[in-house]
């Protein structure tokens, strides 16, 4: 029937639902490129001309980067000494076994060649799970930002047995590392102290933004509960394991006291892995601008932190850094391996392509 066919044609060519009275086509989607999936599109396919040269290029680039990483990592100097004292005869075994507070033990270190500066001094802990979830949530960011009442996250380290609020509360703050170190160089039989610099060892966002002391001056006043903004009237006390309160962490420097103390901040930035190291000090470059010269050194350790109960280990690490950070040979080796595998795969794919190029016919 020509007439009805023509009518269908007219409806067919008109756009969308603007059809004169024919209800069969009101739900038809618009005949635009967008709705009919006809947008102009780039259609890449995995052709040999792209994949094989691509693999070769990536492989060569990875080999180059891997060599650079490996060479750099090899040039970084690291010196580690364990001082847990868990076995008799090891350094600091006497302090590990005694219960004396502030027990001092000495570690003798020999530097063979010049330790190029800047030299960083870390303390390391093993078998210490700062990434444990209950431990990690046991802190109060609001309190460390200046609002001193402890939150429930910190339980059971929020209030002590006398119901006094603990500042700073929580398990992370409570377990703060409290060994101290002094480094001496033995020159001509005498001990010369090597000055250590503790400024700016934490992230700048931590001590400028994330943590803030209460605004009372002196800081001690914030802790006697007299601040009118707070609802409790008790003294705020230090965590159970601390020997001194937060406002005495560094009495010589108010910008390093209280919650913005650098050692405290370094400790609060909890580690991801059970074997970790945290920056303690830098060898200051006033007297040793090139780094630590070769020679004998003695490290005086004030052994306070007990790790025996959880079979933890303690060590000190001296290290210098490069553009890729600390010494880590994994990245260099991984890049070299992956680069070689890429080149090998490209050869395999070339052979496959040459022999089995798929035919054009159906």
């Amino acid at each position: 029937d020509v007439k009805s066919y023509r009518k269908v044609q007219e409806d067919d060519d008109a756009d969308g639902a603007r059809v004169g009275g024919n209800e069969k086509f009101t739900n038809r989607p618009d005949n635009t490129a967008f709705t009919q999936q006809r947008l102009p599109a780039w259609q890449p396919i995995l052709s040999a001309g792209i994949v094989i040269p691509g693999f070769v290029l990536i492989g060569l680039a990875f080999i180059g980067v891997g060599v650079a990483l490996f060479v750099t990592s090899r040039s970084i100097q690291v010196l580690e000494r364990d001082y847990t004292g868990d076995e008799s005869g090891t350094p600091c075994a006497s302090c590990a076994n005694s219960n004396v507070q502030n027990c001092i033990c000495t570690l003798n270190i020999t530097v063979e060649t010049l330790f190029k500066g800047p030299v960083f001094f870390y303390y390391g802990l093993s078998n210490y799970f700062q990434n444990y979830r209950r431990y990690g949530t046991s802190k109060d960011d609001n309190q460390l930002y200046g609002v001193l009442n402890p939150s429930d996250n910190c339980a059971p380290y929020a209030y002590n047995s006398n119901n006094q609020p603990i500042v700073p509360c929580g398990s992370i703050a409570n377990s703060m590392f409290n060994d101290t170190f002094k480094l001496y160089q033995t020159v001509n039989g005498t001990r010369q102290e090597v000055s250590l610099d503790g400024k700016g060892i934490a992230w700048w966002t931590d001590y400028n933004i994330k943590y803030r002391n209460p605004t009372n001056n002196p800081l001690k006043d914030a802790f006697n509960g007299s601040n009118s903004g707070l609802f409790y009237r008790n003294f705020l006390i230090n965590p159970i394991y601390w020997s001194k309160p937060a406002y005495e962490l560094d009495t010589s420097d108010p910008s390093n006291n209280g919650f913005v103390n650098q050692d405290f901040l370094v400790w609060m930035r909890r580690a991801a892995l059970p074997d970790f190291r945290k920056l303690y000090r830098r060898i200051s470059q006033d007297k040793y601008p090139d780094g630590l010269p070769a020679g004998n050194y003695s490290l005086e350790i004030t052994y306070n932190y007990r790790v025996y109960r959880f079979s933890g280990k303690k060590k000190v690490v001296f290290s210098n850094v490069s553009w890729m950070g600390g010494k880590n040979e994994f990245l260099g080796i991984a890049y070299l391996v992956v680069g070689s595998m890429c080149v090998f795969m490209s050869i395999v794919m070339l052979i496959v392509y040459a022999k089995f190029k798929f035919p054009d016919e159906e």
Binding site: Q9, D12, D13, N31, A33, Q37, L39, P40, A41, W42, Q43, I45, L46, V51, F55, I58, F62, V65, P118, F120, Y122, N131, G136, D141, Y145, S151, I201, A202, W203, W204, T205, D206, I209, K210, R269, A271, A272, L273, D275, L279, R282, V321, W323, M324, G325, G326, N328, F330, L331, A334, V338, M345, V348, M349, V352, Y353, F356, K357, F358, E362
Partner: protein, 297 residues
């Protein structure tokens, strides 16, 4: 932790938008190659074997995405000696590796890159980094202190070269086996999809410049002319007397290139083709008679 939720939305927006705008072989190719429907009928893309290979690929990717950052972050520090192996930096590194692997995998699986696809893919990556930096910014920390404890993490870890090298390593280690495997499979055992795509590509590439279509006012397709004007207008306007090649109506009035389709395609069946050729012959013979008549007079 809740900090992971919002960057996931960048990934989810990509995952949900991609299927909406995926094109496929067009209707002409589908009619020419009905074997394209066989894989679906035979359940070749959704069966236990496909699922098992998917699970294995996921396991491999998961192992890579954890152990490469773990090994790269062990006992290492930033280039100024400060901490980088902390919980928040490690989390951010693993999360960024994961998202880049997902984006790259989606790019590999997108066969038709229209403007919409480009927008969603690059927009999602940009959104992820924008949201991450916003969440870890000072402003959000000041407003909601305990909700955004990751302040400073992005700024302090994503400016380290070894972090980016780790990200590249893990993403390429997840993606390159897939690319190599697919390429080898295309060469050794091409599926009907691969063959059709290859043919489409070969046809598209040497296509000539698009011809100007003979657009009639009524936008009717070619075969309809036999029901309406036909060659009457052409003959009476005497345009054929000018030295211009006559345009023959083609069987397929639109070009075959998929890039330039913007009209619905109409196809002729046997009777319509016969009618068309008859009317053409009739029109042409009339033209010739007329021309001869003019030349003679």
């Amino acid at each position: 932790m809740t900090d992971y939720f919002i960057p996931r939305s960048a990934e989810l927006s990509l995952c949900f938008s991609e299927p909406l705008f995926l094109q496929d072989v067009n209707d002409r190719w589908s009619l020419q190659h009905p074997q394209l429907y066989c894989p679906g009928q035979k359940n070749q893309y959704f069966n236990k074997k496909a699922f098992a290979s998917c699970v294995m690929h996921s396991c491999y990717s998961s192992l890579i995405l954890f152990f490469i950052p773990w090994a790269a972050m062990r006992d290492t520090v930033r280039d100024d000696g400060k901490d980088i192996a902390n919980y928040q930096s490690f989390a951010l590194l693993t999360q960024t590796c994961l998202l880049i692997v997902v984006f790259t995998q989606l790019c590999l699986d997108t066969y038709y890159w229209s403007a919409v696809n480009h927008f969603f893919v690059w927009g999602s990556i940009a959104a992820y980094f924008a949201i991450t930096f916003t969440m870890y910014s000072n402003g959000m920390f000041y407003i909601f202190t305990s909700t955004f404890p990751f302040v400073g993490t992005a700024r302090n870890s994503l400016n380290q070269p070894n972090v980016w090298l780790t990200i590249f390593l893990s993403s390429l280690l997840c993606i390159l086996p897939v690319v190599a495997f697919r390429f080898i499979l295309i060469q050794l055992r091409p599926t009907i999809n691969d063959k059709v795509r290859y043919k489409m590509r070969k046809e598209v590439l040497p296509a000539p410049a698009p011809r100007r279509l003979l657009r009639r006012r009524s936008t009717r397709s070619g075969y309809a002319f036999s029901h309406s004007q036909g060659y009457g207008e052409l003959i009476t306007s005497q345009n054929f007397l000018m030295k211009r090649p006559l345009k023959r109506a083609s069987l397929f009035p639109q070009t075959d290139s998929p890039i330039f389709q913007n009209q619905p395609q109409h196809y002729l069946d046997h009777q319509q083709i016969k009618k068309l050729t008859d009317s053409m012959n009739g029109g042409l013979s009339l033209l010739l008679k007329r021309r001869v008549a003019i030349l003679v007079t």
